[in-house]
């Protein structure tokens, strides 16, 4: 269902004034854009195995509704067409073809899932339609030379381990590093980031051991890593194995500095089963404000988020961080469209998406900014490190960026 058109507010003039449009610029449109409307398409798993993520699409629709009530973007209303694909790649192909060929959207936004996005990847390049800010952490979306019509959004797996590498080089330049990783695309993506981040000092890795998802336990791998004499442990594991690795390392008396990938930072799902006392000192990353974190209780931008949720998405959960995610990505897209001004061609959409400079959405951690360029299609490349204190994740140090040297 598309977001309903709503009456133009008085703030349209304000939005126009805010836009950085040269006064003499000529209006240029591709399919999906006009004087009154910008059509945006999306597929989301509203049903099926990944339907928990469906709330992202709903939060985004609510955000665009708010923008429309405030006068739209440069006077144009967003017509957001979000369709259910049930997390099934064939359905994604069908729905995206509908969006591009029948609904004639200007761009496709935040399609969710690595397999679903892989299924439409080639199609989007052939059709030259922007596949913007895809909702997956794989690194392959940042490849402007081969795929100039596709861009990711969230920090990708390689970015994350590159940041761990930098932190290790800063804090323990003589560290001996042990790596445990899951033997698939996700694990290998993470491992590559770590090695890239270490660069010439990749020989600091003294042991790297993998495991298969089908293995019952990874105790022997942890023992093997301890035997390498490493004093830094990079733990690239999915939740079940993360819990096992944390507990095993503690139980055998191995006390390295331990980096845990962002995939498994859940306190309830990973650290509690591993043992909260055994998890003290773990280091991981964050980039969004956590709605359950009390330090944001009086934060003006988080209050904005809360008000938005109450008014435009009252059914949504206020403590679900995926709603913060949806809000933040939607805000990023609105920024891109504002920058486009009256030149709403698909080419210009990609050009503006690749020209975000120090953009800081409300709900991003202070100091983390979105930067893109013609050769940099990875919007969020900085995160803040956080250490587990036995109860919650406490952020520390400065925001670390993978791109700025």
């Amino acid at each position: 269902m598309s977001v309903k058109h709503l009456l133009a507010g008085a703030s349209a003039a304000v939005a126009l004034a805010l836009a950085a449009v040269p006064a003499a610029a000529q209006k240029k449109y591709d399919p999906g854009a006009s004087d009154t409307e910008i059509r945006i398409g999306q597929t989301m798993p509203y049903s099926g195995p990944a339907s928990a993520y469906g709330t992202i699409g709903k939060a985004e629709a609510a955000y665009f509704k708010m923008i429309n009530e405030q006068g739209g973007i440069n006077g144009r209303k967003i017509n957001f067409i979000s369709l259910d694909d049930g997390y099934s790649p064939p359905k994604t192909v069908e729905m995206v073809r509908r969006l591009v060929e029948q609904d004639e959207v200007l761009l496709v936004f935040q399609t969710l899932g690595t397999p679903s996005n892989t299924a439409i990847h080639k199609y989007m390049q052939t059709k030259k339609v922007p596949q913007l800010f895809v909702a997956t952490g794989a690194t392959k979306w940042n490849d402007p030379a081969a795929n100039p019509w596709t861009m990711g959004w969230q920090p990708n797996y390689q970015t994350e381990t590159t940041i761990y590498a930098k932190h290790i080089l800063q804090t323990k330049p003589n560290a001996k590093i042990a790596v445990l990783y899951q033997n698939d695309d996700y694990g290998k993506d993470y491992l590559k980031g770590l090695k890239d981040g270490l660069g010439a000092k990749a020989n600091m890795i003294v042991a790297e051991v993998s495991y298969e998802v089908s293995e019952p336990t990874i105790d022997s791998q942890v023992v093997q890593l301890q035997g390498s004499g490493a004093d830094v442990f990079v733990n690239i594991t999915t939740p079940k194995f993360a819990a096992q690795a944390i507990r095993k390392a503690f139980d055998i008396g191995w006390k390295p500095v331990q980096y845990l990938n962002n995939v498994s930072v859940g306190v309830g799902s990973v650290l509690t089963p591993a043992g909260l006392d055994k998890s003290v000192g773990l280091i991981s990353t964050a980039y969004l404000k956590d709605p359950t974190d009390t330090q944001w209780a009086n934060d003006a931008s988080m209050q904005k988020f809360t008000e938005f949720m109450k008014k435009y998405y009252p059914d949504g959960s206020l403590i679900d961080s995926t709603n913060v995610y949806g809000y933040t990505v939607a805000q990023t897209l609105v920024q891109v469209l504002r920058q486009c001004g009256d030149n709403l061609t698909r080419e210009n959409v990609m050009k503006q998406a690749a020209s975000l400079k120090d953009f800081a959405p409300d709900t991003m951690l202070p100091g983390i900014k979105i930067n893109t360029g013609p050769k940099d299609f990875a919007p969020i490349e900085s995160v803040q490190l956080a250490r587990f204190d036995g109860k919650s994740w406490v952020r520390f140090g400065n925001v670390i960026s993978a791109d700025a040297q």
Binding site: M1, Y46, S47, G48, P49, G54, G57, K58, S82, L83, D84, G86, Y87, S88, P89, P90, K91, V93, E94, R97, R98, E101, Q102, G113, T114, P115, S116, T118, A119, H121, K122, Y123, N183, D184, D185, E212, D315
Partner: protein, 341 residues
């Protein structure tokens, strides 16, 4: 005179003969319309109708097994997946042309289906349903397994190149693919029709309705049952390969258990043990989820469920059954009018 002569040739009564003639005319009209379709609608719609044809082949296959032979399968998505992966792997790794992958997919699924049918002989009713369910649930995980990964591409799946129209025909790839799929659909339906209206079909139905009487009459129950499994899997495999070529992508997530359930839903909604029912069912599984999504984002499956219940309540014999019933009533009223007048 001539009417009498024809009556002597065939056992058909004049009324039945005229009905048969009407059916042939209707079939010809449908075929012509199907051929004209891609030139009347957009490429996107053409693509959707290609998928309808693909599902129709799969549903006909499942109908042979479940509708005619009474063996319930909750795992036909697995055969569909095998067909799709055979096409994708042959095209991607071995450079085999797309059209050549379809018979290979069919042949492999025939063999796999027949072999699966052998142990399944010991199982009946709910037990067979569970065994096939296991097959459907296992398949996506099997496709991800690391020993197969070099062929299947693991979780990432395989992207296939879309074939262009051959011989310099001025057709879009979607139009060509539709016509290609339509041709195969017609062939598969003719084969299915020949199979079912003859000795084999009667044996399958006899085994479904009266297994003991059937074997007492000398029907080799075991052979026919595993044959039904094999043929059914072959149809579904052919459909899978065509589906993969149309979608241009295969991944384990494409063949989750929902696919198997959708196929079973399709044959029940379309009409069990009926050939046209496969086509009606295909329309249902292709278009009703989209309609449900249009109605509600919050609970698309609940809307889908309401559609299901509605269809089953209003058309307990499936769409094909309802059409037959409607047609019979119409004729009955007409003949009553004629007698009255």
């Amino acid at each position: 005179m001539s009417a009498v002569a024809r009556a002597a040739d065939t056992p058909l009564s004049p009324a039945a003969a005229s009905r048969r003639r009407l059916q042939w005319i209707g079939l010809a009209v449908v075929l012509v319309a199907a051929c004209a379709l891609p030139f009347l609608v957009s490429n996107y719609r053409t693509f959707q109708f290609t998928l309808v044809l693909v599902y129709a082949i799969a549903l006909l296959g499942l109908n042979i097994l479940t509708g005619y032979n009474g063996q319930i399968s909750l795992g036909h998505g697995a055969f569909y997946a095998i067909g799709a992966y055979v096409a994708a792997i042959l095209m991607d790794r071995f450079g085999v042309p797309y059209w050549a992958t379809v018979p290979v997919a069919g042949a492999l699924c025939l063999a796999v289906g027949f072999l699966f049918g052998l142990p399944a002989l010991r199982l009946e009713g709910h037990y067979l349903a569970l065994a096939t369910f296991a097959l459907g649930v296992t398949m996506p995980q099997l496709l991800k397994h690391k020993t197969l990964e070099q062929w299947t591409g693991g979780v990432q799946g395989i992207v296939i190149v879309k074939p262009d129209a051959p011989f310099g025909l001025k057709l879009s790839p979607d139009q060509w693919l539709y016509l290609f799929t339509l041709a195969i659909t017609v062939v598969m339906f003719v084969i299915g029709w020949n199979l079912i209206r003859g000795r084999v079909g009667r044996a399958l139905v006899a085994i479904r309705d009266q297994p003991i009487a059937a074997s007492a009459m000398g029907i080799d129950t075991a052979r026919y049952k595993s044959l039904a499994f094999g043929v059914s899997a072959m149809y579904t495999g052919v459909a899978g390969s065509l589906g993969a070529i149309a979608i241009q992508f295969v991944a384990p997530d494409s063949f989750a258990i929902g696919l198997s359930i959708a196929l079973l839903t399709g044959i029940v909604i379309g009409g069990l043990a009926s050939i046209p029912g496969a086509i009606f069912g295909a329309f249902f599984i292709q278009f009703i989820p989209n309609v449900a999504d249009q109605i509600s984002k919050a609970a698309p499956w609940a809307i889908y469920g309401i559609f299901l219940i509605g269809f089953m309540f209003l058309m307990p014999m499936g769409i094909n059954g309802a059409i037959r019933l409607g047609w019979a009533r119409f004729r009955h009223r007409k003949s009553a009018q004629r007698e009255g007048g």
